[in-house]
Amino acid sequence: MTRVAVVDYGAGNLVSIEQALTAAGADVVMASGPAAFEGADALVVPGVGAAGPAMSRLRRRGLEEPIRAWIADDRPLLGICLGLQLLFEGSDEDGAETLGVLPGRTVRLREAPRLPHIGWNQVERRRAHSLFGGIDEAADFYFVHSFAAEPGPGADGLTLAETTHGAPFVSAVARGPLVGVQFHPERSGRDGLRLLANFVELARPAATPTTGAMRAPAVAG
């Protein structure tokens, strides 16, 4: 069974993520410190709200560097909503510097008729990826946000899907085992569960079980 650690930095509703991942076939642990990364096959970084407070909570719990190390090791990670935005360099929402593992910034949605962008919207695929395997092209997913990541120079091929609310924005990205979605699969019904199951499958350890050797420090800062 694929073990998924959900990064818990006090970001609101984690019950739905935990339940949806469990329904998608994962063995879920909540990680309020880096020790819980041990033995995990994949990380999920959830989150809603602003980038600045999220980054300071990640730092306070000693999670920032272990997450960077995880990504540097090319291990599977799914960022959801703010969790996707944090992967980029910074956010215009409050000027916060974020993880910076992907090139680009988080910007306010352009030409949006109303903000926040709340509700179900289309996710138009720009290239094939196993994350969307078995999901109808016309499927809608649930969004709730006012900002979105904008991949910058050097982000060629990063975009998996786009969504339109006013102007189009990037709603899914992937680079190797690092994936991120701006919508909430844990709140997107059956199609959302399918996407999470696809991520769990993508993160499934090879036939020989790994022992989950950790580079990251096992002690919270």
């Binding site: 339940q19 809603v48 709340i118 509700g119 946000h145 569960l193």
Partner: protein
């Protein structure tokens, strides 16, 4: 394109879904998670729980209901009724809600909206406005007044001014209920909806007065609503969510059609 949402509202008291004229003549309608799951399967785009339980021990029961629902229905949940502080909001979100709706508490303490929005983000803060037409000549000339406690208590606040203030304080959505229409089946007050939707930049959820699919169409086309909420017409199975969505789609309104809804 963003879909217009159809949202069933479940009134919850003592851990059960109840129905009646919002606060009187309540009858038991069943287990909240079970109903929520059924609505989600039928195409509900979100679920709203309205806690109408005044009992002091009702809070724990509600949190348990939210948690059980979050385990079964993978659509967004909003909880309204009785949340008065950042800590109480945190508890509701931790139980599995995505948004909290503030009504009387926001009128009494407008800064609560700002504090909660700063802590959890505007997207998690809904301000519910119950509005009643001011007495006077026909039409909307004299505007609407905000009322609280299920319409029993006038506040003297102008509904349009309060709407703008709530958004300025950090509300990410407004849930606008016409107390004149609520429970009457006379259709939404589209003038009220339009007046508010034209004055704020956030989504407006229409509530109060739905009798049939045509009312949902009018709330969007005439009222400018981004979402439409109803309770009794779904509970009593007078109209299914799928039938409402089909009527909206036929009127050219973008809605999410699920496999269940299309069947």
């Amino acid at each position: 394109m963003l879909r217009v949402r159809v949202i069933p509202c479940l009134d919850v008291a003592r851990g059960r879904v109840v129905k009646g004229t919002r606060f009187v003549d309540l009858t038991d309608e069943g287990d909240p998670p079970e109903l929520a799951e059924r609505y989600a399967a039928e195409g509900a785009d979100e679920i709203v729980f309205l806690d109408i339980d005044a009992a002091p021990d009702g809070r724990g029961t509600l949190l348990e209901v939210v948690e059980r629902t979050a385990r079964r229905a993978f659509v967004p949940l909003t909880v309204g009724g009785g949340v008065r502080s950042v800590t109480e909001m945190r508890d509701v979100l931790r139980a599995g809600a995505d948004k909290v709706s503030f009504n009387t508490a926001a009128v009494r303490d407008p800064d609560l909206v700002r504090r909660c929005a700063r802590r959890f983000g505007s997207q998690a803060v809904v301000v519910a406005i119950d509005a009643r037409r001011r007495a006077g000549p026909e039409d909307a000339g004299t505007g609407w007044e905000v009322v609280v406690k299920g319409g029993r208590e006038p506040t003297g606040l102008d509904a349009l001014a309060w709407a703008r203030r709530a958004v300025a304080s950090g509300a990410g959505e407004l849930l606008v209920t016409s107390i004149d229409r609520d429970g009457t089946g006379a259709g939404f007050d589209t003038q009220l909806l339009r007046a508010i939707a034209d004055r704020v930049s956030v989504p407006v959820i229409a509530s109060g007065g739905a009798a049939g699919p045509d009312d949902f169409v009018a709330a969007v086309r005439d009222g400018g609503a981004s979402a439409v909420l109803a309770a009794s017409i779904f509970h009593r199975r007078r109209h299914s969510i799928a039938a409402v969505k089909a009527a909206m789609a036929a009127a050219g309104i973008p809605v999410r059609l699920t496999a269940a809804a299309a069947a």
